[in-house]
């Protein structure tokens, strides 16, 4: 600005602007869009901070749109995801984590109730065709993200309806089928060509798919129960846990022993135990090598279910035997009359790797007339033998790429474990589908796939002086005596509860337009460009005057400002 200096005993107002105090600076403030820990922990890749921000602005539809940019199934995952995001949530270090799953569920339900349609980014239609095999969460997510990228998608499943284990195994008490139907029908209506009752290996071959399509995604899940025996012994009438659950869901049949021992520490074991107990089996025992949820249990050693599932199972009368395995089947003829259990623990061995060590002298006996293994599933090799090479799972990388198999991609339960990308959950399958869509797009466009990786922001980087303690919402739970085999047990939040809960979010690592920097800069070097701001795009550092004191960075509640050393 041209400054006119006035001769005489006074100066014109604001003429100090001619003096650029920015030259004093040795470090400059910069805005850093760090990742919130919730985002980093979400297997589906949601940016919870971003959608919670829209909630805080009172714009739930935009919140949902932001959410479904990563995860098309919020009404589902809001109900069944073990929410590692909440375990990572910074707010947990102050009082209690944001009830992210409850808000996700609320948004999903709102979208269904109001008929909101998935926003599809604009772009050129692609001529390439992609086959997606398996309409479980992995395949559905891959198909959805490919449609968002304007590919032609044909979705195959051997079953008559889409959903995978969401439909065939997860009890409706946790995932009501009308919710599932509504969420999936909207998704399929996006222009995905769905071919049900079409099995790879039976109705169509891998080679046919390769010829007809430009890329193939395999989201076939793990549909074959792992082999189980105790020192070679198996009861004559052996039924695997997943099979029993599926049968119960399809035809309503459930065995009624006097006492059952279920062997396993995951969702199948716990869901089956609860279903059997609620159906009237007098004694339901669950034997697991894992520990129970609690502060003393190490994360890699805990029962692999949402903690509230465990608590509700205990409420319902399921008996848990943690850190134990079945040592021996006690048989009368070919019939089971009991099991011998022994205590064990996962302990580091000579090479540092953890292995299970059984403790001699801790054997105890349970009298049961039925034993059900629920120790996990592997990929059914039918139709995919050529890719599986006798392995239990496909050895794909995090983008789902298979070595030496250009154009074939894998995700969800069917993929082998990749460090940093654990699978075995619905959200992990959704994340796999999203990453695979990126990899397929990259493959068909002749580029390398990319994934956004922002640095995470720790609790210590926040300024807690600006937040107040608050209580997390309590969700309604169906009373014990009212639980049956169909009504949903856990309820969702009310609109008012959802809004209040969203307001608790710190907005970790991303500006929440609190005005602190603008209010507190002694040098008027933070410029605000609009009257009512809601994010960081409305604040500008005026480096002509900023002296680099760092005060704004220190007083930014959410750690959005960092000081960066100036070049010498």
């Amino acid at each position: 600005m041209p400054v006119t200096m006035t001769k005489g005993a006074f100066a014109k107002a604001g003429t100090s602007l001619a003096f650029k105090t920015g030259t004093w600076r040795s470090a400059r403030p910069v805005h850093v869009h760090a990742a919130a820990p919730c985002h980093r922990a979400c297997p589906a890749g949601e940016d919870q901070q971003a959608w919670l921000a829209r909630m805080q602005e009172g714009r739930p539809r935009e919140a949902w749109e932001s959410l479904v940019a990563a995860n098309p199934l919020p009404a589902v995952t809001g109900r069944v995801c073990p929410h590692p995001c909440e375990s990572a949530c910074n707010r947990g270090k102050l009082d209690a984590p944001i009830a992210i799953h409850a808000l996700e569920r609320w948004l999903g339900d709102e979208a269904i109730r109001n008929g909101w349609t998935y926003p599809i980014p604009t772009g050129q239609p692609r001529k390439e065709r992609v086959a997606v095999v398996g309409a479980g969460p992995a395949g559905l997510s891959a198909a959805y993200h490919l449609v968002r990228r304007h590919y032609n998608v044909v979705l195959f499943d051997s079953m008559p309806e889409a959903g995978g284990l969401l439909r065939s195994a997860i009890p409706p008490t946790r995932l009501p089928r009308d919710v599932l139907d509504k969420e999936l029908s909207r998704l399929l209506a996006l222009g995905i060509e769905f071919r049900p009752r079409t099995a790879l290996g039976r109705d169509v071959s891998l080679d046919e798919l390769r010829n007809e399509f430009d890329a193939v995604f395999l989201g076939v899940g793990a549909g074959k129960s792992r082999h189980w025996d105790v020192d070679g012994a198996v009861p004559a009438d052996l039924h695997e846990g997943l099979h029993l659950l599926k049968e119960w869901l399809q035809v309503g049949a459930l065995p009624m022993p006097k006492a059952v021992a279920i062997h396993g520490g995951g969702n199948t074991a716990v869901d089956l135990a609860r279903v059997m107990k609620r159906a009237g089996v007098p004694e339901v025992h669950l034997i697991t090598a894992s520990g129970l949820p609690g502060p003393d249990t190490e994360p890699d050693d805990v029962l692999n279910v949402v903690p509230r599932e465990f608590e509700q199972a205990v409420e319902e009368g399921v008996k848990f035997y943690p850190h134990r395995t079945i040592n021996r089947l006690i048989m009368r003829g070919s019939k089971v009359v009991g099991v011998e259990m022994v205590r064990l623990k996962k302990l580091p061995g000579a090479n540092g790797r953890k292995t299970r060590v059984a403790f001699e002298g801790t054997e105890t006996v349970l009298h049961v007339d039925m034993v059900v293994p629920a120790i996990g599933e592997v990929v059914d090799p039918a139709g995919v033998e050529a890719l599986l090479h006798g392995k239990d799972y496909f050895p794909a990388d995090r983008f789902g790429r298979l070595d030496g198999q250009a154009g074939i991609f894998v995700g969800g339960d069917a993929r082998a474990w990749v460090k940093g990308y654990p699978n075995g959950t619905v959200t992990a399958a959704v994340g796999d589908g999203r990453r695979a869509a990126e990899a397929i797009d990259a493959f068909l466009s002749g580029r390398a796939p990319v994934e956004e990786e922002r640095p995470p922001i720790p609790y210590e980087a926040l300024n807690l002086a600006y937040y107040e303690p608050s209580t997390r919402i309590e969700l309604p739970t169906l009373a014990l005596e009212r639980r049956n085999d169909s009504d949903e047990i856990e309820g969702g939040p009310t609109a008012a509860q959802a809004a209040a809960e969203a307001d608790r979010c710190f907005s970790c690592g991303n500006c929440l337009a609190c005005d602190n920097c603008w209010t507190l800069c002694p040098d008027n070097a933070v410029i605000k460009t609009v009257e009512t701001a809601s994010d960081g795009s409305h604040y500008v550092f005026d480096l002509e005057y900023c002296k680099g004191c760092g005060l704004c960075a220190h007083e930014c509640p959410c750690g959005f400002i960092a000081m960066e050393a100036e070049a010498e």
Partner: protein, 326 residues
């Protein structure tokens, strides 16, 4: 003209003290004056005693002020404000006069001019930017310097541990003038500060505001920590935020959780000698300062009962879109 020049002009707030001033990095006094003049608005005339604020804002031939501003001497900010106010009154104008001074210019050398201005009931808001020493001339102790603080004229040594005497209880003396409104405020609580400025501006008569304004140079803390240090002064009880109407305590900012004074002292090198190993006086003086804080808490009834949205924890709470409470 740069891009930011244009944006600067379009900002949705009035600026009384513009950028380009020469205050140190993180200066609490510059921030306080910025906040006071923003809250007061453009229809004002300012006077200023000699001191940092006067010097850093008006390096000849420039001025950082965007409102009329007069400086004469160290000792007479209140006196010239009285004169300006009388002249405006004679002209029938309602422009508000704000007199400004540092703690030296207010507690010490300008004290009788201030007392006279209050006694004559001039329609002036007097703002004292309290950085607890004569900073502009090199950190000499004033009657506002807290007990035991190190300044260049109260060095810790064999004879004593920093300043021998207590911080002068200026607010009580102001209260004795029976003026309509007086208050203490802090840069750490800008919403509270603005509210107090607006309240004072509405009153036709003499009003007084004491604004605690950390000086990174004189207190010995990083410019980054100005707000944190100011906040701790309030949260410990060492600098109570109170409002007086006609000399009576009308309201206080309650403390939700009093913070031990050591938290405040530790962050400033002016109190470094109070943490010297092997000197029994260090502990004694820390306990003394804690006792002074406890005395304030008791005297002003600072202990809140339960969480209060306007207490020392709640008053600076933010939400998306701005302060939670304004």
């Amino acid at each position: 003209m740069t891009e930011t020049t244009d944006l600067r002009a379009k900002q949705p707030r009035f600026r009384g003290l513009e950028a380009g001033h020469r205050a140190c990095q993180g200066c609490g006094e510059a921030l306080a004056a910025r906040l006071v003049t923003e809250a007061a608005g453009p229809d004002v005339i300012l006077t200023n005693a000699t001191g940092c604020l006067e010097v850093f804002s008006t390096a000849w031939p420039q001025s950082a002020w965007r409102v009329p501003w007069l400086h004469s001497l160290f000792e007479n900010s209140a006196a010239i404000a009285s004169g300006v106010e009388a002249a405006l009154k004679a002209q029938g104008r309602r422009t508000k006069v704000i007199a400004q001074g540092g703690d030296g210019g207010t507690f010490d050398i300008g004290f009788q001019a201030l007392s006279g201005m209050l006694e004559r009931m001039h329609n002036v808001l007097y703002v004292c930017y309290d950085n607890e020493a004569y900073m502009n001339t090199g950190i000499q102790r004033s009657s506002s310097t807290p007990h035991a603080a190190m300044t260049t004229t109260s060095p810790p040594g064999k004879a004593r541990m920093g300043k021998r005497h207590m911080k002068k209880d200026l607010l009580s003396i102001i209260a004795a003038h029976h003026i309509p409104y007086a208050a203490s405020a802090s840069v750490a609580y800008p919403q509270d500060l603005r509210r107090k400025v607006r309240r004072a501006m509405e009153i036709d008569g003499p009003t007084f505001l004491l604004v605690h304004s950390p000086c990174p140079l004189g207190w010995g803390h990083d410019g980054t920590l100005t707000i944190e240090v100011a906040r701790l002064a309030v949260q410990t009880g060492l600098f109570p935020l109170v409002e007086l109407e006609r000399g009576e305590v009308a309201s206080v900012m309650p403390l939700r959780r009093p913070v031990p004074v050591a938290e405040y002292l530790q962050r400033q090198t002016r109190f470094r000698h109070l943490f010297a190993d092997g000197d029994h006086r260090a502990r004694e003086e820390r306990e003394h300062l804690q006792a002074l804080a406890d005395y304030n808490i008791e005297r002003y009834g600072l202990m809140g009962d339960g969480d209060d949205p306007f207490d020392s924890e709640g008053a600076d709470t933010i939400r998306r879109g701005g302060p939670a409470r304004t």
